[in-house]
């Protein structure tokens, strides 16, 4: 209460340097810029690349969960669609011109699928919304699994290769890492601007009080549709990048556990309280998965239990926990 007045006009003006140092984005940027030079992690280029891809995915997902409050429990669908779209476009249409167009197609097709689903379920509530997203993902999963002629069925898509791009040799894992890094940096800037925008704040208003929002002129269904479209674009983008990381596409990207993982990673880090919660959560999630699974085959058990404990004790995630202090 006492700091009411001084805090009033803090908005405009660019923040001075020390304030920039407090910005988590700066540190994430720095760490992942230097990642390939780390003596230990340097050998894990594909893990680093996968982390960056996950960041894009969880940030896009958090627009739905954290900002719009939509229980989108089938978000893996748009990631998977992005993977397959990129693979198919590469194999059948634009093989010569490299991976740029296939990756862009992955993002656009991801947005398209998300838009269609988002439009259908835009006015569904709570559990019905969640179930429909899960069902949608399962349907896509089975289509990819069974439609051998197009998706390759069980054996997936093969023959996807990274060639050179702008004269850079993308077969080199470090160079590909930096390509993904650049995409991540751009995607994070865009998603953050959207989150802080008038539109992003409208989403939060609708999440907090949909009825009042309607009485202030907000067409709540339209917003849900639009956020799905935007989120689907970046989810598709991350899926497409993943296609070129693994140089393949398997139905496993559409498995429901993928959709579960992104929810867990986002909640774990505190996506509902902080823009960067999903990134923190993803780092913990992916690294612990790599580490624990390497020495204990029933690692899922440990991981499941720890998740239950964390969500029960700290429903706002790790960043929510830190923020309270």
């Amino acid at each position: 209460m006492t700091d009411k007045r001084p805090a009033t006009d803090k908005t405009e003006r660019k923040p001075p340097l020390p304030k920039r140092l407090k910005d988590p984005y700066f540190w994430i940027f720095l760490i992942f810029l230097l990642y390939p030079t780390f003596p230990y992690f340097g050998r894990f280029m594909s893990l680093g690349t996968e982390l960056l891809i996950w960041f894009i995915f969880t940030l896009s997902f958090n627009l739905c969960l954290g900002y719009a409050g939509l229980p989108s429990f089938g978000h893996g669908a748009f990631y998977g669609v992005g993977t397959y779209a990129a693979g198919l476009v590469f194999l059948h249409v634009f093989q010569e011109s490299g991976f740029l167009i296939p990756i862009a197609s992955g993002a656009v097709i991801g947005a398209l699928f998300a838009g269609v689903l988002g439009f259908i379920i835009r006015n569904k509530k709570g559990i019905y919304f969640a179930m429909l997203t899960v069902v949608f993902t399962q349907v896509l999963y089975f289509i990819c699994w069974r439609w051998d002629d197009v998706t390759g069925g069980e054996s997936g898509l093969k023959g996807i290769v990274r060639t050179s791009f702008l004269g850079l040799d993308m077969t080199d894992p470090v160079i590909f890492y930096y390509f993904v890094f650049v995409v991540f940096v751009l995607a994070a800037i865009v998603i953050r601007r959207v989150a802080d925008s008038s539109f992003g704040m409208s989403l939060q208003a609708i999440k907090q009080n949909p009825i009042r929002s309607q009485y202030l002129g907000y067409n709540t269904g339209l917003y849900r549709f639009l956020v799905y479209l935007i989120s689907g674009f970046f989810a598709g983008l991350s899926g497409a990048l993943y296609c070129f990381l693994t140089q393949s596409a398997f139905a496993s990207v559409l498995d429901w556990t993928k959709s579960g993982d992104v929810v867990i990673a986002t909640l774990l880090g505190g996506g509902t309280v902080s823009f960067y919660g999903p990134i923190v959560g993803t780092i913990i999630f992916i690294i612990s998965q790599e580490v624990i699974s390497s020495f204990w085959e029933h690692w899922m058990l440990l991981y499941g239990l720890s998740f239950v404990v964390i969500i029960l004790a700290f429903p706002t995630g790790l960043l929510g926990m830190l923020k309270k202090k």
Partner: protein
């Protein structure tokens, strides 16, 4: 032409008829108060007029235009706004941000993907003007959860103002308030709202209702019991029986 022309309006919840075949014409000016015992259909009538409920039968005509069945975000475009009996705010935001949400919608900035919410000066200025108007500007940086119930009621009114309405429906603006807070809101209604827009008020505080209204409408069991000037209503025997069980004479209160 009447402002609202309500024809055969009916709303049922299961077997309970909340609003029963109501025909009503509401004139363009003055303060109209709607009173009646609990369950008389007052709030349901508001919800029907503002598109929150779809009526089971009947029509709502506003300035000659049929607005029946339009959702709230269309209704407000006609200049109709409302407040809520149980304050309906954005709980995790500051007072200023609450009002900004309303203003950015009214000024057409709500869809802008890359316009920073906090840096939108035009919206901020308009929001401060509204807060100044309702005397809540000193609390602008407080979270909604940190302000008093009275201030929340005022913020609820401020949100209703952000759509720049020509008709304002107030649903029990005095409920749960202290005498001082009631005075504040009464002044706001009389000195500001009544001069700038048509007011339709549902209220249980009879002192306020009888002192500020130009016209009073009594609802009972989903029907219009009687309608008239405050003096007529306070003398009406049927009203006294329906509203106060005949125990207390409204004329005495007045």
């Amino acid at each position: 032409m009447p402002l609202f022309s309500i024809q055969n309006l009916t709303k049922r919840f299961g077997s309970f008829v909340a609003v029963n075949n109501v025909d009503l014409e509401i004139p363009e000016t003055g303060i109209l108060s709607i009173i009646g015992p609990n369950g008389a259909g007052k709030t349901t009538l508001f919800n029907l007029l503002t598109g929150f409920f779809l009526p089971d039968a009947g029509r709502v005509i506003f300035k000659g235009q049929d607005i029946t069945g339009q959702p709230p975000y269309e209704i407000i475009k006609h200049g109709i706004s409302r407040s809520f009996q149980i304050t309906s705010l954005f709980q995790e935001m500051t007072v200023l941000d609450n009002v900004r949400i309303g203003i950015q919608s009214h000024l057409g900035d709500k869809f802008k993907l890359f316009l920073n919410f906090q840096e939108n000066r035009r919206v901020k200025q308009e929001a401060l003007n509204i807060l100044d108007r309702v005397k809540l500007v000193d609390n602008r940086m407080s979270l909604v959860t940190a302000i008093s119930h009275g201030d929340r009621k005022i913020l609820d009114l401020a949100l209703a103002l952000t759509t720049d309405p020509s008709v304002l429906l107030l649903d029990e603006p005095m409920s749960g308030l202290s005498i001082q807070e009631r005075g504040k809101i009464t002044r706001l209604i009389c000195d500001d709202f009544a001069k700038n827009m048509k007011l339709i008020i549902v209220e249980h505080d009879m002192d306020v209702v009888f002192s500020i209204s130009d016209e009073i409408l009594v609802l009972n069991q989903g029907r219009v019991l009687v309608r008239g000037a405050p003096a007529e209503i306070s003398r009406n025997q049927a009203v006294q029986e329906a509203y106060l069980g005949g125990e207390k004479c409204l004329a005495e209160i007045k």
